[in-house]
Amino acid sequence: MDSIAITRQMLDGDRMIVNMGPSHPVTHGTLRIVLELEGELIMKATPEMGYLHRGVEKLGENLSYNQFIPLTDRLDYCSSILNNVGYAVAVEKLLGIQDPPRSRVIRVMVSELARIADHIVCLGINAVDIGAFTAFLYLFKQRETIYDLFEMAAGQRMHTSFTRVGGLMRDLPPEFLPLFDRFMEECPAAIDELETLLTRNPIWHDRTKGVGAMSIEDAVNWGYTGPCLRASGLAQDLRVAQPYLDYETYDFDIPVGTTGDVFDRYLVRVEEMRQSLRILAQAKRKLAEVGPGPVIVEDYKIALPPKEKVYTRMESLIHHFKLIMHGIEMPVGEVYSSTEAANGELGFYIVSDGGKNPYRIRVRPPCLPIFSSFDEKVRGRLIADAVAELGAMNVIAGELDR
């Protein structure tokens, strides 16, 4: 048997083997990296993954289109709404429909909130790993507010399952916007505080500058997307390049770095949080412009009819029964739909044979190609650099292993 454990016979020379993970504090999830060391230098890093493999794609083949949504929560669990939205957009592309305008604006709002929450986790934890604990505490207050907002909107803090095929599970409650306004006031100050702590901090510079630098050509060749690609200098953002959810009507900038090292990724993520706040302010105005209205398509062959109609009208009852028992009538075909998640391009490739369940559903996780370059990036560097690098890649085991 070819075991995962690397034996001494497999090694050349007198290298020391150190296991980072599966329960190392820096892995934030269950990853294992086998480091071969000479002194403090990393000669080789072998990532081992699959500890969180749940077979999401296999399960998806046995669940109906709406039943798959709770599984998307558990992909990138730091920003589950972004996955919900990405999946709903993919199924709507397969169906050839669009969700109502109000739903589109709310989706943009929760997506950008989730992006800020995800960047807070990534930056905060990266700073903690490197030794700057305070930034984590300052920003997590804002993250709590975001999760309170999600709880109001979806009833759940982390595993939101907020979207449905054709729209949303429900409209925003009235108490959402007051708290949202407070968040919009407080968040910029918190980001400023983070920058005061880190951006000009010489220790932070020493630990992050030049670590994990990568050229644009290499980043594209490795399949980088999201903040990691933009830190290398390429302004590729699917919200602008291939707009969905009317992102082309929002005014925002794409921050780019120059070298792609950990420090640049930090700067890109901080600036993306500010740009998300800009989008949020516009989205709130847009929500008022759109006004009240349905948040899910009123086609009862796709979305469930409202409960009061199900209880009082025969036709709605039949629609409800048909939709639950036989599912949505799907066209035969295949689509690939991608959205800009917090980590990069989150793609869903769905093959439909016209049945109740997808024939094949593939999740393209943004952090898998990024993590696959780990060995090349840390080879010849110190263990401490590997810690900084792993945090800045923002590897989320949930979407890595699916």
Partner: protein
Amino acid sequence: MVTEHIEEQLPGAVQDKHDFRGDHTIVVGAENLLAVADLLFKEGFQFLVDVTAVDWPEREGARFDVVYHWLNLTSQERLRVKVPVAEGASVPSLVSRFKTADWYEREVYDMFGVIFDGHPNLQRLLTWPDFPGHALRKDFPLDGGDAFCMDGCTAPYNRG
């Protein structure tokens, strides 16, 4: 359109093509994949977004479709390339041109058992090395079956 360019420069390589919901798909044989990948690279499709596979156990001839998604970062065009491959047959690996193909191809090998010729380290990615069978094949049971070979790996899905 890039599909026409491929048809012009590699006559006979494109076996089939179709568009659905704005997605362009071409089907090429495994023997032409490297040439098509080279041509796509020259045409600006330098971003290999995804590699995956689909299992069609009832289909005559080729059981699997290996599915590649390419993105042109300049024009933001996308192209899907499908390579039909029979059970036990192999597909050329794209690792030499696209480093990102490394783990994707390992994952396809792990989940479907498709062999990639020329891959430097074709080992399982998500499951463990002596995992019986390939989990995303349609004949693999949903509950995972006898994953730890308690019954001696005798179930039909353990082979292959």
